[in-house]
Symmetry: C2
Subunit: 325 residues, 2 copies
């Protein structure tokens, strides 16, 4: 049972299924079971407080799997940026062979990684950014639609349009991201021109995901309408789980263009971390995609990946071939 694409061939993984960067979730506990199940998992570099901690997390993941895995490096515009060069060094010295970049101006990072034969998947939300990353040397593009958890950009183009629009112009293998959680979605992504899928929210709702059980149960309970777009007025839109806090932020924004200072106390710092520990889903801000509406259970990572591949195969073999006359 397998689906082989340009992506699985170029990156040497069994299944065209990726668990990309997930802030506060992309620990060894998440990445190793994805690797063991034949997917491609990514540690999230900036979830580790220092480059030394990232080096330790890479080593810890290697104790949990013999299969390849990667590291996500998200580049944020910041007055006092994290020590990116040292994070890169930890990745290189850790023997990592694939990095997912995301964010602004990845050129220097791509250049450095490629000097060490590390493959790059650049994640972005617009065709023009995909083409720019390809010119910079990215080996694959992960194109992220309006449905996604976290930052969908400001263009609001869903995958149904964004994937074929990008496929028309991008030459390197392409992952479809945002809105994927089952085999129907994988088959659709392949039909639209992608070579695989990236999933975040769906991987959060697995036995192994290192987040409080209450958040997993909440995402099972939620439907596709239970997300909010916050920070639109700040031109830094994020799709998050609908709860008391995100609803309050949207209301503040609606009343007249929030400044970050107006909502900062609601979304960050001690309050959010404490809510995470306590499993208080109605406090803090939590990334969650619309794919919540397609999530009904909390399987193991291996059961999830096997099921998605089997379902996609069945959709192609039985359902779609059966329609051809």
């Amino acid at each position: 049972m397998a689906i082989k694409t340009r992506f699985t061939e170029a990156f040497g993984v069994e299944h065209p299924i990726v668990q990309g960067g997930m802030q506060w979730v992309g620990y060894a506990e998440m990445v190793a079971p994805v690797a063991n199940a034949g997917g491609l998992g990514f540690l999230t570099a900036l979830t580790q407080p220092t480059p030394e901690d990232l080096a330790k997390e890479i080593a810890r993941t290697k104790e949990m799997t013999d299969k390849p895995f990667g590291v996500n490096l998200t580049i944020l515009p910041a007055i006092k940026p994290p020590p990116y060069a040292e994070y890169r060094q930890a990745i290189i010295e850790g023997g990592i062979k694939v990095v997912e970049t995301a964010g602004y101006k990845p050129q220097e990072h791509i250049d450095h990684f490629k000097q060490h034969d590390i493959k790059i998947i650049h994640k972005c939300t617009a065709v023009r950014h995909a083409l720019s990353a390809e010119r910079m040397g990215a080996d694959a593009i992960s194109i992220d639609g309006f449905e996604c958890a976290g930052h969908p950009g400001e263009d609001d183009i869903p995958g149904l349009i964004l994937i074929p629009a990008a496929a028309n112009k991008v030459s390197v293998p392409m992952l479809a991201s945002g809105g994927f959680g089952d085999g129907r979605g994988l088959a659709a992504a392949l039909a639209l021109g992608a070579d695989g899928i990236n999933m975040g929210t769906r991987f959060c709702v697995t036995q192994e995901a290192p987040i409080h059980e209450n958040f997993k149960r909440q995402m099972v309970e939620n439907d596709e309408r239970d997300t909010k777009l916050i920070f639109r007025t700040l031109h830094n839109t994020a799709r998050v789980m609908k709860n008391a806090v995100s609803s309050e932020v949207v209301e503040i924004e609606r009343k007249g263009g929030a400044k970050f200072e107006d909502v900062q106390h609601l979304v960050a710092g001690v309050r959010g971390r404490k809510a995470m520990e306590l499993g208080d889903t109605d406090d803090g801000i939590w990334s969650a995609g619309q794919v919540q509406g397609l999530i009904d259970d909390i399987p193991t990572v291996k059961d999830l990946i096997d099921r998605i591949v089997a379902e996609a195969e069945d959709v192609i073999k039985a359902r779609m071939n059966g329609m051809l006359s």
Copy 2:
């Protein structure tokens, strides 16, 4: 060359491709070539000023095709509604066998049509509305995602999520609507659980579409980002082509919650009709979906439908089957 689905079987059409209601476009000139090419086209009842005019338009369409076609009846909440009962009578007496309903509270319309053995496709933008229409007796559902031209509703759920979410619950055949324009999209819709696709914007950009050449050329030129959502503050969101007028409406809304009176002069009446006649794409308000970004030519309706079916077949047979190992 054919793709057979529950929809093509139940509605007796050759291809699982529908041209649903399109205000000011759904005339005989649009519908007849769709029918002749093996698709299912719909006249738009309320584009005709009176029920008598609709009766004449049905007769005129029958002179242009021997194949079946339908009529769209959109139910608008209005203080002084159009004479719906008389429009229904024109449809029934015209020998029409399939009606696309859309809008609010279709029960009395569905009941009346079903007494005359007319099949109903109800178009809606949310799973809960689809289930409600199914309970009312609809024979098929056309589920319309956030990508679509015209009214996407207020939930902002794209097809990638909305189609499988609806397929999980709806029993009757289902058309996927919004964002479709090529064979990749048709294959994706079938993978996601739909039994066919509905297209609007793509059918506007054909040789036969009865709209000014300038609008067709503009939609070819536009990319997926060249739409605007207007009337969001009025809870009556519409996706329209980005131009000077729609941009001005959005700006008025952004500045503080427009009343319809504030923008009415920009969008309606003589100014819009004159712009349509003159082919002035930068005046008036024009429905257009994000699928503009996937439209590169102005083919005949028959060439378009044949190409979509052939491409979908090729995606399934060559591309997707080729990935199975």
